[in-house]
Symmetry: C2
Subunit: 342 residues, 2 copies
DNA sequence: ATGAAAGCGCTAACAG
DNA sequence: CTGTTAGCGCTTTCAT
């Protein structure tokens, strides 16, 4: 418990028989220091167990090497993974990150932003829903702090934003099904008020059209993101449209519901083999943010938004912003990745 | 882009016609300041958009109000949730947290610890596997930084550790099954090398004994944490021991596998109703760190380790450590929560 | 109740 | 190549 008295740059200088300035130079590897003194200083540092006080360092110098990251809520797997990517990248560049939570709906974003700024961060990344984005942007603007957004949908403008390419993902998925011989492809899930869904449904329709395939509005069914409801909607859809051979699901929960619905009806029909049943029956494809482990055994295709890589892009963008000092708005989209389970 | 010149405490003092000392006092609410000047200062702060530079503040004063949190890897849902809990609590107490990743196996823990200390954190929380825990403890000891560990298993000694109560969880689960009339209860999953598993199996056995129920070592089956393997092991177990009426699963993946195995064989047997089939058949219980959404429809009992609450406890413990200054080692265990789906 | 002044640990000119 | 000397923005005695 003997709290060792903080050893400072002075102690090191003294021990090494040089001046503090020299130690500082050795620390930051800047000035041209002779091998000899450099060595001596390092030894002193080692011997005394000196740890440089970065607070003091950045009080004088410009940058703190700290980036603030505000994520809505860490318990969302997508944002957790995104955060992991951001942190990983930034740390590999010798930065540190302050992580704070801005609330599921972004309620606290502004307040957190202020706190981060008062901690002297070099930049702020915002991941998730934002309450008052334009206010934030203005604040950032006049405190001169680079601000980068990352989100699932593209509801922000005039900001540096990295987001998934929903339309391309939908195209990939639909095209994949078509290539595997499907002609009658339905859509399951999501609420019509969702922007993300709109983008995805857009890609789905466009691809059908492109291949000259039939599009029926009854084949695009809305449903809440709940397993039970998805299972019901799925069964209902197929019962009334038995010619459908493939379904694109809005997300992993819907996909899970569809699959369970299929298992259930397959079971009730008393067929011989489960696999043969559903494979003959309806092919499933779905969007997801992370691969759904529960469906690892299901024959399914996924359009995955690579959350971790997205985080890495965000980090890269942040670094770029920081050391270019420029403020050019780039709206960057992340390509999805197609994954087939079987 | 006009980077507003940093407004400092001096500017505020000037604007308010008082001294910097006064402003400082108002800021920290310490000295006895007259209402009048307090008001005047606050107005100036507001008007100038002053944000206090905490780096400078903590350079002179003692604490920084920043806690370091090292988590193995954020993409693990359990630790993400735990981190969310820690951050949430700490932020509500006006603290901030530095979040860094120590590597899945704790490879970087030591290095990250140093970085955190150099940032002047008031304490460090370590969540996840640690490579060289005792080294860490020593480092913390002589830099005088409070250190609190949080993990799933209890492989650390002589440290401040918060962990789940695996044995009690196993007891709860087993007892729950017994109360529902089961007498022949098997165990599925986990590797015999796992400490966590050992603790859990211990609780399971103890409870069987306590109720005078039969224990067969063939009923305790090992298997990898993979859905497919669990499904196979489960089917195999039941085929050879048809009298078993309930199974305790090592984790959510195993539970999922067991359930799918059950669906599959139920389906093949051609029974009438899925629900009636498995309900008559084998009751499932499982450990989990977060409720498994994929199994929301399955009739299943869970022993949940409340990760978020665990995070809150960790935060509380940290705060306690910080302002007591004492270093009494407490090995605190979190009680599990029993949840039945149906 | 408020002001003056002395640093916290470090960096950044500028001299040598 | 290395030492001297000012501060960075804020807190904190100690006076007043």
């Amino acid at each position: 418990m003997a709290i060792a008295k903080k050893v400072t740059i002075n102690d090191v200088a003294h021990a090494a028989g040089v001046s503090v300035a020299t130690v500082s130079l050795v620390l930051s590897g800047k000035g041209r220091i002779s091998m000899a003194t450099g060595e001596r200083v390092n030894q002193a540092i080692e011997a005394l167990g000196f740890v440089r006080n970065r607070q003091a360092a950045s009080l004088r110098g410009a940058q703190t090497g700290v980036i603030g990251l505000i994520v809505g809520d860490l318990s969302s797997p997508f944002y957790a993974e995104l955060a992991a990517g951001v942190i990983e990248s930034l740390e590999s560049q010798g930065k540190m990150v302050f992580l704070t939570q801005g609330g599921r709906k972004g309620e606290h974003m502004l307040q957190r932003f202020d706190t981060l700024v008062s901690q002297g961060v070099d930049g702020v990344v915002i991941a998730g829903a934002v309450d008052r984005a334009s206010e934030l942007r203005d604040k950032a603007e006049d405190s001169g702090v680079p601000l980068v957004f990352a989100s699932r949908a593209s509801y922000l403008e005039d900001v540096d934003l990295i987001r998934p390419d929903n339309m391309q993902a939908a195209q990939m998925l639909t095209e994949h099904l078509i290539r595997r011989g499907h002609q009658r492809i339905a859509w399951l899930g999501g609420q019509s008020t969702s922007l993300t869904r709109a983008e995805r449904v857009g890609g789905y329709c466009a691809t059908l059209l492109k291949y000259g395939l039939p599009f029926h509005s009854e084949w695009v069914v809305e449903c809440e993101t709940s397993q039970r409801q998805a299972a019901e909607a799925f069964s209902h859809l197929l019962r009334h449209n038995p010619t459908i051979t493939a379904v694109v699901c809005y997300n992993n929960v819907v996909a899970m519901g569809a699959w369970l619905g299929m298992l259930r009806s397959g079971w009730q029909s008393g067929d011989e083999s489960l696999e043969s049943y559903y494979e003959q029956r309806v092919a499933l494809a779905a969007f997801a943010e992370v691969p759904e482990s529960a469906l690892e055994d299901a024959p399914m295709s996924w359009a995955i938004t690579p959350a971790r890589e997205m985080g890495q892009s965000v980090a890269a963008r942040m670094l770029e912003r920081i050391d270019s000092g420029k403020n050019v708005v780039k709206n960057q989209i992340m390509p999805p990745r197609l994954v087939s389970t079987k």
